[in-house]
């Protein structure tokens, strides 16, 4: 580690706003990382497996068959058709093979498919689209076969496991049964694909419910504010970091290409930048989100499309300055390629203002996204996102029977958001203080 770097670090960490900013951000990072533990999502459980697990906890000999019964029920509910389907599809595969060898006519194959669709083994579209896209249908059928084969194999293994269990008793049984249950549990969860970002409804009452031990931040819109704030941290990082990172990279690319190559390319790129800058950011993001349709992803796209220009201008100005530095000339004289000159020599010396700017923008992006959510253009319903929770509280901010009755609906998500933005701004401020040469004396 170089002296310069050490000195910079020292300057950075003796800067009070840097310290506060970094502390806040680390706090949020920890929350984001440990969200599943801080606010555990309610992952759905299978009733049979749940019962089996309960029985295992108070295990006694007579429970053994109850447990095995539950497991069998689970197996039935999951794999009842697996074998039949596998056989049927294997037959179909044979027919397809024959069809390829011209032993079977296309109509016969079609009839075979129809048979399977009647038993809901295959979707009707395979039959309907057969004539138009025969090859594609066959290709998809093979995929379908592979899927079912896999399922069938799993079903055989599962059944064996249950059968094995029947043969053992006592401690050993409990040990093995727990293993089997957790294996089934895993299969089950893979099958349902659970999204923890959707805040579950925890009540049916529509008025906000004040904080309690179970819901420490209270409830608004039937959603647990605590859960939303914790998981919303991840969303905030996602929106802020992804939008700023991508738009900064785009800006860097356009700005550095324009500055380094100059000429008409620069003229064109900078005019394009001008044009994008002539469109008001908030409105443009609003319009594009509206056109693309609601949702976090579309909102992020809109923010990126209209968020790269400042970086481009900044980096261009800096590069124009750096371009005439002698070390750049020297590198050119050594025959270093243009790309490496930009990446190795110019960018590292000009990127700091850009990074500072990017840091500051993270906060404002999160606010803009929240404003879009407030207008109903951002995050989807029930998505763990601070802006959404704040928009839930919009109708309660002015209070109920007294003006401060529903203080908690705005306080927690509001504080989370303000702190988050403040954190990034403090960090940006500090970085500027540390790296801005004018501030060094």
């Amino acid at each position: 580690m170089s002296e310069e770097f050490k000195r910079t670090l020292k300057r950075f960490f003796t800067n009070p706003s840097a310290l506060i900013g970094v502390t806040i951000l680390i706090f949020f990072i920890i929350i984001a990382i440990f969200a599943p533990w801080i606010a555990p999502p309610k992952i759905p459980v299978n009733k049979n497996l749940e019962k089996a697990r309960n029985l295992l906890e108070n295990y006694s000999e007579e429970n053994k068959y109850l447990i095995i019964n539950e497991l069998k029920n689970f197996w039935d509910d999951t794999y009842f058709f697996a074998e039949d389907d596998y056989i049927e599809l294997s037959n179909l595969m044979e027919t397809i093979a024959k069809f390829h060898n011209k032993e079977v006519s296309s109509n016969e194959l079609k009839a075979h498919i129809k048979e399977l669709t009647d038993y809901y083994i295959l979707n009707i579209t395979y039959y309907e689209k057969f004539d138009e896209e025969t090859n594609k249908v066959i290709k998809n059928l093979k995929k379908e076969y592979n899927k079912i084969e896999k399922k069938y194999k799993e079903s055989v293994i599962s059944l064996n496991l249950i059968n094995e269990l029947e043969k053992i008793d006592g401690e050993e049984f409990v040990k093995q049964a727990i293993k089997v249950v957790s294996r089934f549990d895993k299969n089950f969860h893979e099958a349902i694909g659970f999204n923890p970002y959707i805040m579950p409804n925890v009540t049916t009452t529509r008025t906000p419910i004040p904080p309690s031990k179970e819901h420490p931040f209270g409830i608004v819109n039937q959603k647990d504010i605590f859960y939303g704030v914790i998981w919303g941290t991840r969303t905030a990082f996602e929106i802020g970091l992804v939008v700023v990172a991508i738009s900064t990279v785009i800006g860097l690319f356009i700005g550095s290409v324009a500055a380094y190559f100059g000429g008409w390319l620069e003229e064109v790129l900078m005019r394009i930048t001008d044009i994008f800058m002539s469109i008001p950011f908030m409105l443009a993001a609003m319009v594009l989100t509206t056109i693309l349709g609601l949702g976090i992803k579309n909102m992020m796209i809109a923010l990126i499309v209209f968020g790269w220009m400042v970086t481009a201008r900044l980096i261009r100005g800096n590069i124009l300055q750096a371009k005439n530095e002698q070390y750049v000339m020297a590198a050119k004289a050594l025959g270093v390629s243009d790309f490496f000159i930009i990446v190795k020599h110019i960018l590292p010396n000009t990127i700091f203002p850009v990074l500072i700017n990017a840091t500051m923008r993270i906060g404002s992006m999160v606010i803009t996204a929240a404003a879009l959510s407030f207008l109903g253009l951002g995050a989807p319903q029930g998505y763990a996102d601070w802006g959404s929770i704040l928009s839930y509280s919009r109708d309660w901010i002015i209070g109920g029977t007294n003006p401060t009755q529903y203080w908690f609906t705005i306080l927690y998500p509001g504080i989370a958001m303000i702190l988050f933005v403040i954190g990034w701004n403090l960090l940006g401020d500090a970085l500027r203080d540390v790296f801005d040469p004018r501030m060094r004396h």
Binding site: R271, S278, M282, T289, T290, L375, M417, N425
Partner: protein, 345 residues
């Protein structure tokens, strides 16, 4: 300098063309049927036969290749035909013109307190660098900068309308509105306060003002934060300059040093920012207008977006972009006239 101005003016059509191209390209993401709704009222074709819809699409050139479509669209634009606004229930252009004065009036009234207080805070912070006052103002700025505007706007409504009963939402009180809408009241500028004064109706003037102050407070904090940051850092820099030191060493009182020597020079970069702020205000009032039920461009855009009135939102976008372009042009040119160093830019 003339060449600079001419160059800027010549670039203007190019920029405007570019903006229209971007807006148009965005609209093309909609797909033909939804696009049709930007030209005609969607109710028209809600129950139309497939054939009639096809005819309508052809009529509006939705089946043409991109450049032709764009050409037709621009031609319509030049004729002032921005399509039909479902939300406004009138042509988009009319809707924009009807709403524009409310926004501009709000922006104008917001400007003075924002600039005055913002600069005052910035200078105060810089003069008391690192003191308690400075830290306090910095925190004030930081919170203003980080506070989501929709939360703050509703809080302002809560405090100043429900709590104190001072600043009601809306454009005008009903009684005042009726007078304004009556034939005897002449609309010279369509800016309520100014028209009120011109008509000699001081009561309406106060009523209009009362309705403006709430939104102004709601927007101000963010811009204060913005402006005082720039002023502060610019002022700090100037205070370190040799001529200020010289002035000090001459034994001039601190007040004179700051007022005469430092502040003037520190405000040069602030002026540009202030110019951009006027434009920023025009487009940054979406949420405040929504909360305070002001019928300006911002609330129009928000409602249109919520009701998927594509023609209207694109109209607002084009309109405000145009404002932005012309505003920037005026700022740049006047700045070039004031400060010759800029001209090369």
């Amino acid at each position: 300098m003339t060449t600079y101005i001419i160059r800027r003016l010549l670039l203007l059509p190019l920029i405007i063309l570019g903006v229209t191209l971007i807006v148009f390209s965005m609209s093309q993401l909609l797909g033909p049927l939804k696009l049709l709704s930007t030209y005609v009222d969607p109710n028209t074709y809600a129950k139309m036969s497939e054939r009639d819809i096809q005819i309508l699409m052809k009529q509006y050139g939705l089946t043409d290749p991109f450049p032709v479509r764009y050409g037709k669209w621009v031609k319509n634009l030049l004729k002032g035909d921005l399509g039909w606004s479902v939300v406004g229930k009138e042509p988009v252009l009319d809707a924009l013109i009807h709403r524009f004065p409310y926004t501009i009036e709000l922006a104008l009234y917001a400007l003075f307190p924002i600039i005055g207080v913002g600069i005052w805070l910035g200078v105060t912070a810089a003069v008391h660098h690192n003191s308690f006052i400075d830290q306090f103002i910095r925190i004030f700025a930081l919170i203003g900068w980080s506070l989501p505007d929709f939360v703050w706007a509703i809080l302002v409504l809560l405090i100043f309308y429900i709590g104190l009963g001072w600043f009601p939402p809306g454009n005008l009180s009903i009684w005042a509105n009726q007078i304004v809408k009556s034939a005897s009241f002449k609309n010279y500028t369509h800016l309520l306060t100014i028209d009120a004064l011109l008509n000699g109706r001081i009561d309406i003037f106060w009523d209009a003002l009362r309705h403006i102050i709430g939104p102004v407070i709601a927007i101000s904090w963010l811009w204060w934060a913005n402006l005082l940051r720039i002023t502060r850092s610019s002022m700090l820099e100037v205070l370190r300059k040799d001529y200020v030191r010289t002035a000090r060493s001459k034994g001039l009182p601190e007040k004179v040093v700051i007022n005469k020597h430092a502040r003037k020079n520190a405000l040069i970069p602030v002026v540009t920012t202030a110019g951009q702020m006027v434009i920023g205000l025009l487009t940054g009032v979406v949420i405040v207008e929504m909360v305070f039920v002001r019928t300006g461009l911002g609330s129009f855009a928000a409602t249109a977006a919520q009701q998927l009135d594509y023609a209207s939102i694109m109209g607002v976008l084009l309109f405000t972009s145009l404002l932005l372009i012309i505003g920037n042009l005026i700022i740049d040119i006047s700045y070039a006239i004031i400060d010759p160093r800029i001209r090369l830019g």
